[in-house]
Symmetry: C2
Subunit: 335 residues, 2 copies
Amino acid sequence: MRSREWHLLRRPQGWPTPADFALVDRELPPVQAGEVVVRNLYLSVDPYMRGRMNAARSYAPPYELGQVMYGEAVGRVAESADDRLPVGAWVRTRRAWREAFVCPAGEPELIDVELAPPASYLGVLGMPGMTAWVGVHDIGEVRPGETVFVSAASGAVGSLAGQLARLVGCRVIGSAGSAEKVRYLTEDLGYDAAFDYHAGDITGQLQAAAPEGVDVYFDNVGGEHLRAALACLNVRGRVAACGSISSYNEPQPGPDNLAVVVGKRIRIQGFIVWDHADRLPLFTRYVGGLLQTGQVRYRETVVDGIEQAVQAFLDLLRGGTHLGKLVVRVSSPDD
Amino acid sequence: MRSREWHLLRRPQGWPTPADFALVDRELPPVQAGEVVVRNLYLSVDPYMRGRMNAARSYAPPYELGQVMYGEAVGRVAESADDRLPVGAWVRTRRAWREAFVCPAGEPELIDVELAPPASYLGVLGMPGMTAWVGVHDIGEVRPGETVFVSAASGAVGSLAGQLARLVGCRVIGSAGSAEKVRYLTEDLGYDAAFDYHAGDITGQLQAAAPEGVDVYFDNVGGEHLRAALACLNVRGRVAACGSISSYNEPQPGPDNLAVVVGKRIRIQGFIVWDHADRLPLFTRYVGGLLQTGQVRYRETVVDGIEQAVQAFLDLLRGGTHLGKLVVRVSSPDD
């Protein structure tokens, strides 16, 4: 069996370009006893992958040059040499950016496609959804009646973060990069207020949307968004520092008002969802239940074809026009 | 009885100047039943007072123009119309920047001058000392074996912060603004390493002093110091954000590396010592004990005469040449 896979050719300086990547066709090794072949159906593209393209070791090792990039994927077992994992089983792995692979049968995680559709295990029920859940509850410690501000609010993480905060009884404000995304926030997701950060001064728009100030800021963006949030945070405000997409490809000045953390006793707490992996079953059960009862809504934007994966990722870094989680469909379940 | 007192005449723009203040002589009102007259012996000058000179309400109301400025002071009861507080009692109040005042007898806090000399209740046993204690233990949560970095380490807060962290079993690094101050840190206070932040790149000097990284940064300075600390902090590092003296009088760019808080799961926690006032008796007993056994050392720099109070404060904001706590002696106990 052959598999196409995306390799990182060189480490991007600033904004990545298609020439930094190559789609490589290779023959899979034969399956040994205790192994399975998994064919990926959906690949995830996520902002954190930009960090893995740099040489510096962060919380995870960088992508290796000339090697396939890792990432979340959902697929089905196509061939099995282990009774524990039969052909046809739906699984999630971190072996993305490729069509198929051989792996030990104990590695893939079974997913319940009765609970929710397969691709949702890359989004609302996947790493981004769990990031939202951890950030809102464990890091932001949101409480009923508080005002919560979420940046990149129409994305995979932000769209769930705001809904979870609303379920707790918070007033929720979101920022996004287009009028259509802003409508999505208020009309589909139940955000109490939202604004287009391209449409004017962020601090001014946030002050207008949060006249009583912000108690928790769920930060996916950094830069000017963080500066605005610091200006608007109330005493004992919290920042759940999840990401900083504004600075991934070009340096951003730091917020020149960081000194307000002292007088306002602000807590800024960085977090990584993988640190909370032990709570994945609880998360899946809880948010899976919210999906079934319709208390949480989500969208996916599906890009077709593994050839499109790099372009989809580059669009994601620019903000893009997609709503919700961006996934790449590699092949259909019936292929 | 007459009393001279310092008034704020106008709100400083940028660095304050002597012309922003006036020393005013006034007649005290007669003492009523239930009141006392306190004559101040030592006044405290502290960096936080710069914030009170601005119009914006922070955690405390701003100084009023044309009114005496508040602040910590130690004095003795000179006249009493209440049996609870006899003449001669040593007291601490927040009625500084003046020679004497009339107040309700229930207001002043008695201090134990057998435990430690009077002026120490403005420094190592006062608000600065308690700030160090809260910041090291409650906010920084220092643990044995960790590396702790303290900026403005020869000052009233920093000089105790480093010693408290060493008592826990930390390796302690300090920065200060002169070679003499650096010697004071390592030779008198037991800092494991120290550097002069004027003597070269702060990040480079910190990296050299902390080759295994920093676990807790006690921030009194902000600006370039905070940037350096963020660069050197280890995973799950903490910043006890106590002050930001570098930005009190002129704007400072924010740290352009703030995004590292995510991957390193850094916590930045602002704090104000007054929030922890309920623990003052415990603090006084604990640090008072450390002073008596010689486990903690301190210095005071005494400036003579209330006329010198503004100049002492301005020197403090510039970094000054003093070691430890800077206090102004208003009169001697025998006056």
